[in-house]
């Protein structure tokens, strides 16, 4: 496991004994590492993954028969995927580059081939729809993409035409080779918008000269010669102001001419159905639809939407209605002829909350995919409530004592109910044991939710960029509730705060979501119950001014909700909840409430103290000149983090005390100078109360993106080394020294000595996308870093490897302390991947939460996919293994017990016999 080179480093003195010792140590260490991997039978037992694709831009159904099961979508997350239309399961998925480079311009489907133009007309790709394999890829000439269509020659589709801003090109469908490319005439004045082929020997290009006329050019299929050029006059229709009219027509087969009926979209929800008369020149309006949404490749589908109910209309007559939903911005209809020649249809509805719903004939919802979860912004894990009986028992302690006798009665009655519940549970177990295992379903519903023995099952509250909130059961991954917040701006920033946990029965748990508009800075609050997702009817404070900072105080009101302070741009503070009790507490504590504000655009960090009248005073200020460096990130410590040991026992039995400052902030800056020789990354450790710069380090010849974790007494950061062109990890640890200044309590105001800072740097052989540290209930378990890699793997890296006290030369003391000798390169071992082959595409964040078991930490990785698992950084020291042999142990116990009994009896008999003798 270890490379032999590392063994060499142990034995500086090259004595044989030492070599043996160290190799033994290495072997032990490697055993420790092996046991971390997942066994085959544990796959999927404690973990689950959900894959998403994002908001659908283009969708196609496989063919026009009723039996086809596949459908294909291209999404705004640059993903091309195929679903099973019966279940909504993902068949396959291709994740392209993020950003405009991988954006999908159009998706066309013909038979087994799916054609895609990617990256604003940069690439033309053909996919095999059966297996999702790439047939071919062709690089197109530069120019922004306008339109594309299939071109058929004598009833078979052989070509595809791609229209760009100033050129049109034809490609063979079989191999992507270019047949011809022609520049469009007058491309400065004319906006070319559409390309069309009706199966003849020509391909037509439609151009619009705004406020003037239309141009139609016909190209010869053979050599791209312009056959004719026609200009026509415009129609007389009223267009919604500022709206670009869109033509929606339908062409069932590329080799035949399209239907004579077509839609013209005149406004965001205003369509007109028009019909081209048989003479081919005059157009007659058929029907006006307002308000409604029209599906794209449609035979006939419109939805006049009253209250956003979906009703389907065939071109002339209505044919179906479906249930209501959130307003659908997009609609994909698949109509087909059934066996009895009636029209059948299936509809794929993409709603504003990014849900994808599939509806079948008589308006039945077959499945719904919550694609909003492809873009999770922030999340929290909340403990589940106790069961009713447990809660009743708990509630007994909260109530006021009313005499001895009633108390005893109450206790007895609650114990009777507990007994009843236990008996019912036993009966259920017995009943289910008789049934075959496959039939037993452990369906989690919102009613049956309750905390398990070790608090391993929690409620995951996820906030998505679309403004939809989800409550997900962490054990199964099923969505238990969802709530769509309307009127959320697309660029809003979210902050999720748990104000009251489930621990305060009978008060329900309470979460607050702070939604802040990034442009105006104005914020709104959404207060809800995280277990049921219901909105709480609590009076919300008026927030007329932009909010700069929000902080959760450890102060609780009479209902056990923590107080949230909101600081506006005039440094005035609003408390929520703002009851009299809270305001009184705040007044008493005002002089000990400090907070900081960071203005990264001005490089300004400043600290404030609360005054009794809830105004604030500025007490410290640190300014990092923006000409030199800019602040990229600031992180404090997690408030729910526990540190078990105050120090580290060193080899000579003395203790090195950790500098555990709960107010410490890690501020990371990047230089404005990006030249590889002069670029640097700055790390500042600033006390958030006094503004004192505890440590200031500069990593030269380095640049971002910097990912870092700040916890306990250490900061780990990762950056790009511009000189050596590699990723490097650096770890900073702070120690008070061998004596504590004040061992009972930590106060930032009374800690005059600066801590000792140790730092070491390592090479990391992979770029990373995100980083987080494991978290356990009491902080006894050793820490691991969870590192999300671009490959989708999540690496659990023992903190032991990131220890600035790793010695260069092994000594007796360092071995005593179990320090690994320094090696410049950090290993990546495949058995450290906690998600084995369940890769998480585009991992964006990792959330860790403690469970009721000290050894176990719950991990959720989110990005395009969501992956939940448990990690055991120090192995499961407090849990019996799955394969623990209860039978053997108990049989041995019983055997010994009986042996003792029998031998006792025998001894008695023997004694009696001897006495008689």
């Amino acid at each position: 496991m270890y490379r032999p080179s590392l063994v060499v480093t142990f034995t500086k003195k090259s004595s044989v004994k030492m070599a043996k010792l160290t190799s033994l140590f290495v072997i032990l260490l490697s055993f420790f590492c092996i046991s971390e991997a997942v066994f085959e039978d544990q796959v999927g037992k404690f973990d689950w993954r959900q894959q998403y694709v994002g908001k659908t831009l283009f969708a196609h159904f496989e063919s026009n028969t009723q039996s086809s099961k596949k459908m294909f979508v291209a999404t705004d997350k640059n993903i091309f995927a195929s679903f099973n239309s019966r279940t909504g399961d993902l068949l396959w998925r291709h994740v392209d580059k993020t950003g405009p480079e991988g954006s999908i311009d159009i998706l066309l489907l013909h038979g087994q081939d799916a054609l895609m133009v990617v990256g604003d007309g940069r690439l033309l790709r053909s996919w095999d729809t059966n297996i999702g394999g790439l047939n071919w890829e062709a690089v197109l000439d530069t120019g922004s993409f306008q339109a594309a269509c299939f071109v058929a020659i004598q009833d078979t589709v052989k070509l595809v035409a791609v229209l760009k801003k100033a050129a049109i090109s034809l490609h063979y469908l079989s191999n992507g080779h270019q047949k011809w490319v022609e520049n469009l005439p007058d491309s400065d004045a004319v906006q070319y918008q559409a390309v069309y082929s009706g199966g003849e020997e020509e391909v037509y290009v439609l151009g619009v000269v705004p406020n003037s006329h239309l141009t139609i050019i016909a190209y010869s299929l053979e050599d791209g010669e312009i056959i004719k050029q026609v200009t026509t006059l415009s129609l007389d229709l009223e267009v919604f102001p500022g709206f670009q009219p869109v033509l929606v027509s339908s062409q069932p087969h590329p080799a035949r001419s399209p239907l004579s009926e077509f839609f013209l979209q005149l406004g965001p929800d205003h369509h007109v159905l028009l019909q081209l008369n048989a003479d081919g020149y005059t157009i007659a309006p058929l029907r006006d639809f307002q308000p409604c949404v029209v599906s794209h490749p449609v035979v006939g589908g419109v939805s006049p939407c009253s209250g956003w109910c979906l009703a389907l209309w065939c071109v002339v007559s209505p044919c179906g209605v479906s249930p209501c939903g959130v307003s659908p911005p997009q609609l994909y209809v698949h109509a087909f002829l059934k066996k009895d020649d009636s029209v059948g249809y299936r509809v794929l509805v993409q709603t504003q909350d990014h849900a994808l719903t599939f509806i079948q004939q008589p308006g039945r919802v077959v499945w719904t995919r919550e694609e909003a979860l492809a873009d999770v912004v922030t999340m929290e894990m909340v403990d589940l409530p106790l069961t009713g009986t447990q809660a009743e028992l708990e509630g007994e302690f909260g109530k006021k004592a009313d005499g001895l006798f009633p108390m005893v009665l109450k206790r007895l009655s609650s114990q009777v109910t507990l007994l009843q519940a236990w008996l019912a549970h036993l009966w259920k177990l017995f009943y289910e044991a008789r049934k075959p295992r496959s039939q037993v379903k452990n369906e989690v519903t919102i009613e049956t939710l309750s905390r398990d023995e070790f608090n391993l099952q929690k409620m995951m509250v996820m906030v998505t960029a679309s403004g939809k909130l989800f409550g997900i059961d962490s054990k199964s991954g099923s969505i238990l509730w969802k709530h769509y917040l309307e009127n959320v701006q697309p660029n809003a920033a979210f902050k999720l705060i748990v104000q009251r946990t489930t621990a305060h029965f009978p008060h329900p748990p309470q979460c607050t979501l702070l939604i802040k508009d990034k442009d105006t800075g104005l914020a709104t609050l959404h207060v809800f119950n995280p277990i049921f997702g219901r909105k709480s009817h609590i009076a919300l404070p008026a927030l007329p001014r932009p909010i700069l900072q929000s902080l959760l105080l450890p102060v609780i009101d009479q209902d056990y909700a923590k107080v949230l302070l909101l600081v506006d741009d005039q440094y005035k503070v609003t408390a929520f909840p703002s009851t009299k009790n809270v305001l009184q507490q705040l007044q008493e504590m005002a002089s000990s409430i400090f907070f900081y504000l960071i203005r990264s655009d001005q490089g300004n960090l400043s600290g404030f103290r609360l005054r009794k009248d809830l105004s604030t005073e500025r007490i410290w200020e640190v300014v990092l000149p923006t000409e030199v460096q800019k602040i990229v990130a600031v992180k404090g410590k997690r408030p729910n983090e526990h540190v078990h040991s105050q120090g580290r026992v060193m080899g000579d039995r003395s203790v090195l005390y950790k500098y555990l400052n709960p107010n410490l902030l890690a501020v990371v800056t990047e230089s404005t100078d990006t030249h590889p020789e002069r670029a640097f990354v700055g790390v500042f450790l600033v006390d958030g109360v006094t503004g004192r710069i505890i440590h200031e380090a500069v990593q030269r010849k380095a640049r971002g993106p910097v990912h870092f974790v700040h916890s306990e007494n250490w900061v780990v950061y990762e950056y790009w080394n511009t000189k050596s062109r590699r990723n490097e990890f650096s770890v900073l640890e702070l120690f008070e020294g061998t004596e504590l200044y004040n061992s009972t309590v930590f106060s930032s105001l009374d800690r005059p000595h600066l801590p000792q800072v140790l730092q070491q740097t390592y090479i990391f052989p992979s770029p990373i996308t995100t980083m987080e540290a494991t978290l356990t209930e009491k902080g006894i378990t050793s820490r691991h870093l969870l590192v999300g890699l671009p490959s989708g793997a999540i690496l659990s890296l023992p903190k032991m490897f990131l220890d600035p006290r790793r010695p260069e030369v092994v000594t007796e003391h360092s071995r005593e302390e179990n320090l690994i000798p320094y090696a410049p390169e950090m290993p990546i071992r495949t058995e450290w991947f906690i998600n084995y082959n369940q890769t998480v595409a585009r991992v964006k964040g990792i959330y860790t939460a403690p469970s009721g078991l000290e050894s176990t930490c719950l991990v959720v990785a989110y990005g395009l996919d969501i992956y939940q698992t448990r990690v055991y950084p120090s192995k499961q020291f407090d849990v019996l293994k799955d394969d623990y042999d209860y039978v053997l142990i108990s049989s041995v116990l019983f055997a010994l017990f009986f042996a003792t009994m029998i031998s006792k009896r025998l001894a008695q008999v023997k004694l009696l016999n001897r006495a008689w003798r």
Partner: protein, 251 residues
């Protein structure tokens, strides 16, 4: 791995070690700031102001003058006057209501000679007034600079830092500041120490290479193998001559 020259590594280590123990140093110790190219030996002075008011509204007054000297050897010294009778009284009053004692210095650059040295704005820090009184005005002021020599922060602590409520004789103890002044530049974070590691590995290889000239398995254990083979051959010969028939029958 071997691309980082050794000399460079050493260079980067030395200042790190030097500056690691910065907090033990006293005032007027020189610090190396980044790559200060302009060497300005003339130095300049900026005001150090303080504010302590019973109503906690900042009204900064002159406390002293900081003599800053930029360039390769950055140094700082402070000349300050004694507290007046009135100030001492106010300070004790502020200490009694647990008010704050704040100091501020203007934002300046230690290296820039061409452009305006002073930028708008101040750097502020505070300490509890009671701890200042109880420590008998013995404070430690630290100025922090960034890589290019801009002052980015100031901090003040008192030693001891606690407020225990002990009485202080103002006449004797609250007259003059006993200030320790330091200026700290950022430390250079270490690079991965590849060169040293490789060197050490090479030494190990050499050391191990000499004494253990890898003998072959046979050369090492010939004294066991030869008798064993001889023994097997002997017994095999016996078997063939003596018990050959019996063996054949058995099979």
């Amino acid at each position: 791995m071997a691309s980082v020259p050794r000399s460079f590594l050493l260079l980067s280590i030395i200042p790190t070690i030097l500056i690691l123990c910065a907090d033990f140093a006293c005032c007027n110790t020189g610090r190396k700031t980044g790559d200060g190219l302009d060497t300005d030996f003339s130095g300049f002075s900026v005001p150090l102001e303080h504010s302590f008011e019973v109503d906690d509204v900042s009204r900064f007054r002159m406390r002293g003058a900081l003599q800053l000297r930029g360039g390769r050897e950055t140094s700082v010294s402070l000349s300050q006057s004694q507290l007046s009778e009135e100030d001492r009284k106010t300070l004790k009053e502020v200490a009694a209501v647990d008010g704050l004692y704040k100091i501020r210095v203007p934002r300046v650059s230690l290296t820039d000679r061409q452009t305006e040295r002073q930028m708008d704005g101040y750097l502020t820090a505070f300490v509890r007034a009671c701890s200042l009184v109880e420590s008998h005005l013995s404070d430690v002021i630290t100025l922090h600079t960034d890589v290019s020599g801009y002052l980015i922060g100031v901090s003040i602590v008192t030693i001891p830092g606690a407020c225990r409520g002990t009485e202080v004789e103002d006449e004797v103890d609250l007259e003059a500041f006993n200030t320790t002044l330091t200026i700290i530049a950022p430390t250079n974070a270490p690079q991965p120490e590849t060169a040293l590691f490789i060197e050490r590995m090479d030494i190990e290889h050499e050391k191990r290479g000499k004494p253990q000239e890898q003998k072959s398995f046979f050369a090492k254990y010939w004294m066991y193998i030869v008798p064993l083979v001889l023994f097997l051959m002997m017994s095999g010969a016996q078997d063939q001559s003596g018990g050959g028939a019996a063996n054949g029958g058995g099979r």
